[in-house]
Symmetry: D2
Subunit: 361 residues, 4 copies
C-alpha cells in the first residue's frame, strides 16, 4: 500500500475511541488524522489521555463528521446511542467508509431498536445497508460494506461463544441463558458516582437484568444462525429471533468480558460433535482460540488483545452445556474488532496491526 488510510475518530476522547487511536498508532497502513471530541476541543489529545502523550499531541477537533468526511478515508464513530443516526447521510457515505461502534445500525428492525433504546431512529433508511461487523461470521459482506455496525462487547462474546452450537442445531435455543461479567471500562469515562473507584472496587453486582440493550442484538444474530436457509424467516427484518436471558454483571477490573452460557443440549449430542463444530467454524480463525472441552477461559489471558478464548463443559447430570467465552471488551469487544473491520473493508490482511499476544500480568 503506497499511502496510509486516513482515519478520523468521532468520540475519540471516550475509552473506546481512545483504544481505536492506540491501535491505529501501530497499524502499518493507517493513521489518525482527526481526534474528534465534544468536551476537549483544542486540548492536546496526549493531555486528555496521558498514555498517548508524545504519540498524539495534536489538539482534539470537534465532531463535525461532514467536514471530516471530506478528509478521511474511514470514520470511526464511538458516540452515544442515537448520535450517528442523527447525522449520517448518503453524502457522507459517498465520500468515505464508516465504522460505527455505537448500536445505531446493529438491529435490522427499527421498532426493536426504538423499543430497547427508547429513542427515535433518525435515519432508518440506512439500516438495511449497514453490515453487522462480526468479522468471523460476516466477513464477505464486510469487505463490500460502506457502513459497518461494529458489534457490542457483550454481544461479540456471547454470539461467538454460542454460534457453532446454534448454527448446527446442537442446543435448544429457547434454553439459552447468558450470564456475563464485564470490566468497568465498559461503563465509559462519564463522571458518575456509580463508577467511582470506591463504589466499584470490592463489589460485584448485576445490572440491566432482563432489560439490557445487548439482548436483542444477541437474539437477532443467533436467530440468523439458527434459521439460516429458511427463506421465509430470513426475509423478516431481523429474521425470527430466538428469545434468551442475558444478565450482565459489573466486575472490579478494568478490562475483560466473560460470558458463561447455559443451554440444553439436543438429544444425543456428544462432546465430540461439539468440539467438531467449534473446530469447523473457528479452527482457522486467527482471533479465536478454542481451548477445548473442560477448559475455563480467563479474561487475563486475552487482555489487551483481539482474541476470543472459548471452552466448554458438558454436565451429563442436567443435560446442559456450559460454554464460556472471554475477550477484552476494549479490543475484540470494540476497537480491535473495528480495526479488523477496517482491514476487511480496505482489502488489507485481516490481522494487520492486530496480531500480538495479550499482556500479562
Amino acid at each position: 500500500m503506497d499511502k496510509k488510510i486516513k482515519a478520523g475518530i468521532i468520540g475519540a476522547t471516550g475509552y473506546a475511541g481512545q483504544e481505536v487511536a492506540r491501535l491505529l498508532y501501530t497499524h502499518p497502513s493507517a493513521e489518525v488524522i482527526w481526534y474528534g471530541s465534544r468536551s476537549y476541543v483544542d486540548q492536546s489529545y496526549g493531555k486528555v489521555y496521558g498514555n498517548m502523550a508524545s504519540f498524539a499531541d495534536e489538539p482534539c477537533r470537534d465532531d463535525d463528521i461532514a467536514a471530516l468526511a471530506g478528509e478521511a478515508d474511514v470514520i470511526f464513530t464511538a458516540t452515544p446511542q442515537g448520535y450517528l443516526a442523527g447525522v449520517l447521510n448518503e453524502e457522507i457515505l459517498s465520500k468515505c467508509k464508516v465504522i460505527d461502534l455505537s448500536a445505531d445500525y446493529r438491529l435490522k428492525d427499527v421498532s426493536v431498536y426504538e423499543k430497547w433504546y427508547k429513542i427515535e431512529h433518525k435515519s432508518p433508511e440506512l439500516i438495511k445497508e449497514a453490515v453487522y461487523g462480526l468479522c468471523e461470521i460476516n466477513r464477505e459482506d464486510v469487505k463490500k460494506a460502506r457502513l459497518v455496525a461494529n458489534p457490542g462487547c457483550f454481544t461479540t462474546c456471547s454470539i461467538m461463544s454460542l454460534y457453532p452450537l446454534v448454527k448446527d442445531h446442537l442446543i435448544d435455543p429457547d434454553t439459552i441463558i447468558i450470564d456475563a461479567k464485564s470490566g468497568t471500562s465498559g461503563a465509559g469515562r462519564g463522571a458518575k458516582v456509580d463508577n467511582l473507584y470506591c463504589e466499584v472496587n470490592e463489589s460485584i453486582k448485576a445490572y440491566g437484568v432482563a432489560t439490557h440493550r445487548h439482548t436483542p442484538e444477541i437474539e437477532e444474530q443467533l436467530g440468523y444462525a439458527f434459521h439460516a436457509g429458511d427463506e421465509a424467516v430470513m426475509a423478516i427484518p431481523g429474521g425470527q429471533p430466538i428469545c434468551i436471558n442475558f444478565t450482565p454483571h459489573l466486575v472490579p477490573m478494568n478490562r475483560g468480558i466473560l460470558a458463561t452460557c447455559y443451554a440444553k443440549l439436543n438429544e444425543g449430542v456428544t462432546s465430540g460433535q461439539i468440539t467438531a463444530a467449534y473446530e469447523k467454524y473457528y479452527g482457522n480463525e486467527p482471533f479465536v482460540r478454542f481451548l477445548g472441552e473442560g477448559a475455563c477461559p480467563q479474561t487475563r489471558w486475552v487482555e489487551g488483545s483481539n482474541l476470543l478464548d472459548i471452552g466448554f463443559v458438558v454436565d451429563p447430570r442436567t443435560g446442559r452445556i456450559i460454554v464460556m467465552g472471554a475477550l477484552d471488551n476494549m479490543v475484540k469487544g470494540a476497537a480491535g474488532q473495528a480495526v479488523q473491520n477496517m482491514n476487511l473493508m480496505f482489502g488489507l490482511p485481516e490481522t494487520e496491526g492486530l496480531l500480538f499476544p495479550p499482556v500479562f500480568p
Copy 2:
C-alpha cells in the same frame, strides 16, 4: 449470663478460623481460649494475623481436639475436608458442642459425600445426628444440636435465595441454574500460584464447572424444601434431591458472594406472589434483607456483616425469574453463621454479637 462461653478454634490460622476469632472478640458472651493451628504452633496469634495483635497475642496451640474438648464449651472446626470426620467421636461430643465449618457432616447420604469429595468418610455414624446449620430454616433443630454442620458459603447464598420459591413451588426446580461469583478469600490462605495477586487481579474465570462440591449440598437442601411433607421421599437419606447447575466464578475482590439464580416460573405465578413468599419466610429475619422486585444486590452493601441481601427480576419474555443473593462469604457464609449457630445452641439471643452494619467503602 454469668460466665462466658469458652470457645476453641481448630484451624484458627485459616481465613475462616480467623474470622471466628475476630467475631468472638466482640461477642459479649463468649471468649476464645484456644487458637488451634497446625503450622503456627507456639507463634503469637497476633503475629500470624496482624489485625489481631493486641487483641489476641497468646500463642497458637496445636489441633488436639480431644484435649480441647476438656476445656471448651464449644469447638469451632475450620479444617480441611475429612479432617474432623477422622477425629470426632462420641466422647468429644459428650463434653462439648461442635460447630463444623468444613463439609464433613453436611450431606446426609455418605455415598454422595464420598463421590463428590473423593475421600472416605471416617465417622458416618455421626452424620445422622448432625444438624445442618442454616439458622433461618433449621432454627429449632439447631437449638438442640450437639453437632452442627455449618453450611458452605456458596450454599448459604444459593439455598436462601431460592428457598421461598422452591418451598412454595413457584418455580420448576429442574430449571434452576445458579451462576455464582466469589471473592478470593474463599480460596483460603494456602500458598498457590493460582491465588497470587497478579494471577487473580484484573481477571475473572469460572472453575469447578459442573463438578463443584457445593452442588450436592444445594440440591439436598432445596430437595428438602421441595419435598417437605412427602414422608416417603423425606425418609430417604438426603431426601430426593433436585438436580441443578451450579457454576462458581473467582472475582478479584477479597470478600463477597453473589449468586445469580435462574429458573422457570410455574404457570401463572405473579410478582406479587413471589414478593409475598419472600416476605413470609424472611420478613422477620434479622439477617435477611429482602430488597424487593427489581433490586440487584451488591456485595459491597453486605461486606463485613452477617447479612444476606435478596432481590429479583421477572422476565416476562422468557418466563424466567432471576433471583440474586449477596452475602459476605467470611461472615454469613462461614464464621458469622457459625456464631449465629452458637447463639442458638447456647440459648443466647440469635443476633448477639452479630448485629452491626456492613462496612463501606
Copy 3:
C-alpha cells in the same frame, strides 16, 4: 448512662459522614437522630448507603445546623472546607457540642488557613476556643471542649508517627519528609473523572506536591511538640511551626493511610532511646500499637478499626530514621477519632464503641 446521646450529622451522605453513622449505630451510648444532607434530602439514608439499609431507613434531612442544635447533644460536621465556619456561632455552641471533621478550626493562625485553603474564614473568633482533637495528645483539653477540630487523616497518621521523636528532640525537625499514601475513599464521593474506577485502578500517583493543605496542620502540631515549654514561642498563634515536606499519593485501595517518615537522627540517639520514647507516649494508649524496631506496618492490619500501627527502622549508613505509621483514614483518620472525641467530651470511657479488631482480609 440513662439515656443515649443524641447525635446529628451534617454531611451524612459523604463517606466520612456515613462512617460516623455506621460507628454510632453500634455505640452503646449514642444514637443518630439527624442524617443531614444537601443532595439527598427526603431520600432514605439506607438507599443512599445500601449498607445502612435496615439500620437507618429514615429519610435524610437538610443541613440546617441551627435547627439541629435544638435537638441534638452533639453535632458532627463532615462538610466542605469553609462551610462550618460560615454557619457556626455562639448560639449553636451554647446548645450543643460540635465535632468538626472539616479543617475549619484546625489551624490557630487564620492567615495560614486562608493562605492554604484560599478561602476567607467567616468565624475567626471561634478558632481560639476550638480544641485540636488528637485525643492521645490533647485528651484533657478535649474533655472540656465545646468545639473540637477533628484532625485530618494524613495529619493524624503523620503527627502521631513522629510525635515522640519531635517531642523528645530525638530528630532534627527541619529534615522531616513525609511520604504518605492514601486509599481512595479520602477523595470523597463526588463524581469526578479522576476518581473513576478505571482511572484509579492499576495506578499510583502523587498529588498536591508541596501544596497539600494538611502540611501546615502537621507543621503546627509538631511545632507545639517541639517548642513545648518555650513560653514565648507558644504564645504565637500556631506556635512557631517547623517546616517539612509532605507528599500524598493516591493508592488503588478503598481505605488506609501509610505515612513513611524520614528524618535525621540527632547525634548519638540510639534505637533503645527511640523505642523508649514510643513506649513512654503510647505504651498505654488503647488505639496505638507500637510494633517496634524493624516492623513495617501495613494498612490491611488496621482496616476498619480505630488503630494506628507504628514501626521504625534506623539506617546507620545515612543516620536517618524511617518511621512508618498506618491507620484507616475513615476511622482513626476521621469518624473513629470523632467518636473517640465524643466519648471524651461526654465523660464516657474513651474506647466505648471503638474497641474492635480490624477486619481482614
Copy 4:
C-alpha cells in the same frame, strides 16, 4: 536484516522472562528459539502462560545455557540471584551475547555484591567486562558489549529520575531520599503467602527498609554521574558511591513503579536550570517523556510500554526538589530495556519493536 536474531530465554517461565517472550514475538528482527525453565520442562509454554497460547505453543526446554549458547545469537537470563554467575563463562560469551536481567553483574565491586546479596559471586572475573545496560546513559558501551547487566526496575526508575540533577550538580547527593512504590509483579510468580491476592489487595506496606538490594546499585550509578571526570575516584571499582535512603513499597496493582525522590537543591538553582538539565539529557530520548515542572507522573500512563515519565516540583519553603518518575517495571524496568539493549548490541534501531503507546485503561 536478512535473518532473524535467534534468542533464548533462561527463566522464561518467570514474569520477566515471559515479558521478554511477549515483546520478542512482535519484534521484527528477533525470534525466540528456546523457552528455558526449571519447573515446566516439556510443558507447552502457552499452557504455562495462557496469553501466549497460539503464539508460543512449543514445549519449555531446560535451562542448559551451554547447549543454548550453541544455538542462539543472544541469551536473556531472568534467573534467581547468583544463578548466572555460577554458570556463565568465557566459552558461552565467545559464542553468543548475554543480557542478564538478574543482578549478578550490575555491581562493579564484588564485595558490595556479596554484602548486600549475601551470596558468594562465582565469576567475579566477568564483572569488569559487563556493561551496565542503562541505554540512555551507557548507549555506546552497550553497543560493543558481549555481556549486559540489565538494570533493576527500581534502579532504572530512580537513577534516570535523578541523573540530570546529580550529573549537573544541581542537588546535594547526600540528601537524596527515594520513596518508591511498586506493583506486585515485581515480587515474581513464586507461591508465597505474602503475595496471595487477599494479602496484597487493599493494603500498602514498605519492605526491605534500609536494606533493599537495589540501594547500592542506585548509589553506584549515581556516583558515576556525580564523580564523572574525577579520574581518581572513577578508578575505584564501583567509583565512589554516594549514600542514599531507598524505601520500596508494595502497591496493590499488577504493574508499575513510581519513584518519589527528594533532595536539597544547591544554593541558587532555579526551576529553569532544572528543566534545562532534563531537556539536555532526555530531550531526544524516544523512551523518556519529561513532563515538566509541576507534573506528577502516574503509572497508568506508561503501563505496558517502554516509557519513563518524569516530572518535578520545587518547594521553595524547604529548598527541596521532589522528582517523580514512573515506568512499567516489566517493560522499561526489565524486559523492554533488555530488548532495547539487544537492539543496541545488534546494530538495530534502538526503538525497534518497542515504540508503541501504553495501554489504558
